[in-house]
C-alpha cells in the first residue's frame, strides 16, 4: 500500500483485492462479544470533517475504535475554522500533535491530495468535493462481491446526479477496473462532459439502462451543491429517473439495489424499493465499518519503499 488512500485511481487490482479480502476478516470482529482487537493500540487517528456526515464519520470512528486506535473527531462547526483558519494551517497544527492518521472530508476536490503533500501522517480521503470517495466505492464493491461472488462481467447501472457525485467517480473507476460493465444514467444537465473517460456507457433512458442489470445503484440528488436549476421539479425527476418497483422489474430477478445514503425517498428512490427485498442499503452501511478497518490496518503498516516514507 502507498502512504495514503486518496483515490481509487491510485490502487492496483491486487491492492483492491487485498483490501476486500482483509474486509472479510475484519467483519467477523464486529460479531464478537468483545468487538475490539489491539492492532492499532497507541495510534492516534484524527477525523477532520469539513462537511456534514453521519454515516462516514460514525463508520470511521467505530472502525478506529474496534482496532483500538485513539480517535478524535473534529466537527468543523465548533473549531477554529470558523475563525478563518485555512485547511493547511489546521492540518499543520494537528500534525504538530503527532497523530498517525488523518481522515479528511472536505467540500473541495483535491483537499486530501493537498494534505498528503504537506503531512507526515497517513491521509485517508473520506470524500473530497466532486472528486472521489474511495472507501465508499470499496464498501460497494465488497457488498456486490458478497452477493454476486464476483465483479467481473456484472452489469452495474448507476442512476442519479452524475455531475456532483464523488461516489460515482470512485465506483466507476473501481468497478471498471475489476471488469464490470458500468452504465450510467441521469438528466442531461447532470451528466458531466467527458464522463465516458471513466470507462462507463451513458444511457439517456432509465428503462433501457436498468434492463438486465445485476446491480442498480442510486445516487442522491445533491441539492446543496446545486446552484442552478438542473431539472424542473423533484416530482418530474422522480417520474423520469426515480427507481420504482416497475423499473426494478426490468432488471435481472436477482438484482440488488444500492444507495450510498443519505436517501431522498420519493426523489431518486421509491420508499417501497428502498425497503424492499432487493435492497442491500443497510448491508452497505454494515460493511462500511469492516472496509474502513481493513483500510486503517493496511495503511498503518510500512510504506512500499523507503523513499516514500
Amino acid at each position: 500500500m502507498k502512504k495514503d488512500l486518496l483515490s481509487i485511481a491510485d490502487l492496483s487490482c491486487e491492492e483492491i483485492t487485498l483490501i476486500l479480502d482483509t474486509t472479510e476478516a475484519m467483519r467477523e470482529i464486529g460479531q464478537r462479544p468483545i468487538k475490539k482487537v489491539p492492532t492499532l493500540r497507541g495510534k492516534t487517528v484524527v477525523n477532520l470533517f469539513y462537511e456534514p456526515s453521519t454515516r462516514t464519520r460514525t463508520s470511521f470512528e467505530i472502525a478506529e475504535k474496534r482496532l483500538s486506535a485513539d480517535t478524535l473527531s473534529i466537527p468543523v462547526s465548533t473549531s477554529s475554522v470558523l475563525k478563518g483558519e485555512t485547511l493547511v494551517d489546521t492540518a499543520l497544527n494537528i500534525e504538530a500533535m503527532q497523530p498517525d492518521m488523518i481522515v479528511l472530508r472536505h467540500a473541495s476536490s483535491g483537499a486530501a491530495h493537498l494534505l498528503s503533500r504537506i503531512c507526515r501522517s497517513r491521509i485517508i480521503n473520506a470524500g473530497d468535493g466532486m472528486h472521489e470517495h474511495p472507501t465508499q466505492a470499496l464498501l460497494d464493491a465488497f457488498t456486490i462481491r458478497e452477493h454476486k461472488h464476483r465483479i467481473e462481467g456484472l452489469k452495474v447501472t448507476i442512476v442519479g446526479d452524475l455531475l456532483h457525485s464523488r461516489v460515482l467517480r470512485s465506483d466507476a473507476l473501481l468497478l471498471t477496473k475489476l471488469g464490470a460493465q458500468v452504465c450510467v444514467c441521469g438528466p442531461a444537465t447532470l451528466v458531466p462532459v467527458g464522463i465516458e473517460r471513466l470507462g462507463v456507457r451513458v444511457s439517456t433512458s432509465v428503462d433501457e439502462a436498468v434492463a438486465d442489470a445485476d446491480v442498480i445503484m442510486l445516487l442522491r440528488i445533491q441539492h446543496e451543491r446545486m446552484q442552478g436549476a438542473f431539472f424542473p421539479s423533484v416530482r418530474e425527476y422522480f417520474n423520469t429517473f426515480g427507481m420504482t418497483k416497475a423499473r426494478v422489474a426490468r432488471a435481472r430477478p436477482d438484482v440488488i439495489i444500492m444507495h450510498p445514503g443519505p436517501m431522498n425517498r420519493g426523489v431518486e428512490i421509491a420508499s417501497d424499493v428502498a425497503d424492499g427485498p432487493y435492497s442491500v442499503i443497510l448491508e452497505q452501511v454494515a460493511n462500511g465499518v469492516a472496509v474502513r478497518m481493513a483500510v486503517l490496518y493496511l495503511l498503518a503498516g510500512g510504506v512500499e519503499d523507503e523513499a516514500a516514507a
Binding site: 464478537r32 462479544p33 510500512g302
Partner: protein, 206 residues
C-alpha cells in the same frame, strides 16, 4: 532422532547428491524428521492423551491457529471422535491482529489477515489450542489474548505437533507430537496434505 533421513534437495546435482553443504549456493540441506505414517500415529497418540486427560469430552473444543494448526485440529477432532464416539467442535483462529511485531517496521506491507471462525461459545469449555510448531511462544501469547476476547473458557491447553525449543516467553505445551532440538539458524517446516499435498515435517538448514 534415529529415524532422521538426511537428503539434499533442489536443484539436484548428480555430482554430490547427498553431501551438499548448507549455505552452498546450490541449495538447502533438508532433513525429514517425520513422515506421513509417523505423523498419523503421533496425532492418534495425542488424541488418546487428550481423551485420557479430559474426562467428560462434552466440554472439549479444538481451536486451530491459522494456517497449519487448522487442519491438525480437524484431524485431532476426527481422531477424538473415533475414540470417544463424540464429535468435538472445531474452530479456526487468525492471530495476525494480535501480533506483537505489527507496526514495528517502517517498510513493507502488513501481514495478511485471514478470518477467524469459532462457531461455538467458548465460555466454560475446555479449549485445546492447536498449532504446528512451537518456537518462541509469541504466536501462542497472541492466540491466548485473541481467545480471551471470545469468552472465558474453563481451561486452555496447548497442543503442538513439533516443539523446537528457543522459547522467548514462559509458555509450555500440554501435548507435544515431537520434541525437536534445533538451532536458531535452522527452520522447521510442517507440510500437511490439506495445504501442501504431503504429510511431512522437515528441518531446513539456512
Amino acid at each position: 532422532m534415529t529415524d532422521a533421513v538426511p537428503r539434499a534437495r533442489s536443484p539436484q546435482s548428480p555430482n554430490h547428491p547427498i553431501t551438499q553443504l548448507p549455505n552452498s549456493a546450490a541449495g538447502v540441506l533438508v532433513t525429514v524428521v517425520m513422515d506421513a505414517d509417523r505423523m498419523s500415529r503421533t496425532l492418534t497418540r495425542i488424541a488418546h492423551e487428550i481423551v485420557e486427560r479430559n474426562r467428560g469430552i462434552e466440554e472439549l473444543a479444538l481451536v486451530g491457529i491459522r494456517t497449519r494448526g487448522v487442519p491438525i485440529a480437524k484431524r485431532l477432532a476426527h481422531a477424538i471422535g473415533e475414540i470417544a464416539g463424540h464429535e468435538v467442535p472445531t474452530g479456526a483462529l487468525d492471530i495476525t491482529l494480535y501480533r506483537d511485531d505489527l507496526m514495528r517496521h517502517a517498510v513493507g506491507p502488513q501481514p495478511v489477515v485471514r478470518s477467524t471462525e469459532i462457531p461455538f461459545s467458548i465460555d466454560d469449555k475446555r479449549i485445546l489450542l492447536v498449532d504446528d510448531v512451537l518456537y518462541t511462544g509469541r504466536t501462542i501469547r497472541a492466540a491466548l489474548d485473541a481467545l480471551i476476547d471470545f469468552g472465558r473458557p474453563k481451561v486452555i491447553q496447548l497442543v503442538v505437533l513439533v516443539d523446537r525449543g528457543h522459547r522467548e516467553l514462559p509458555i509450555k505445551a500440554d501435548y507435544v507430537g515431537k520434541n525437536l532440538p534445533t538451532s536458531a539458524s535452522q527452520s522447521v517446516q510442517v507440510h500437511l496434505m490439506e495445504i501442501d499435498g504431503k504429510d511431512e515435517v522437515e528441518i531446513q538448514e539456512t
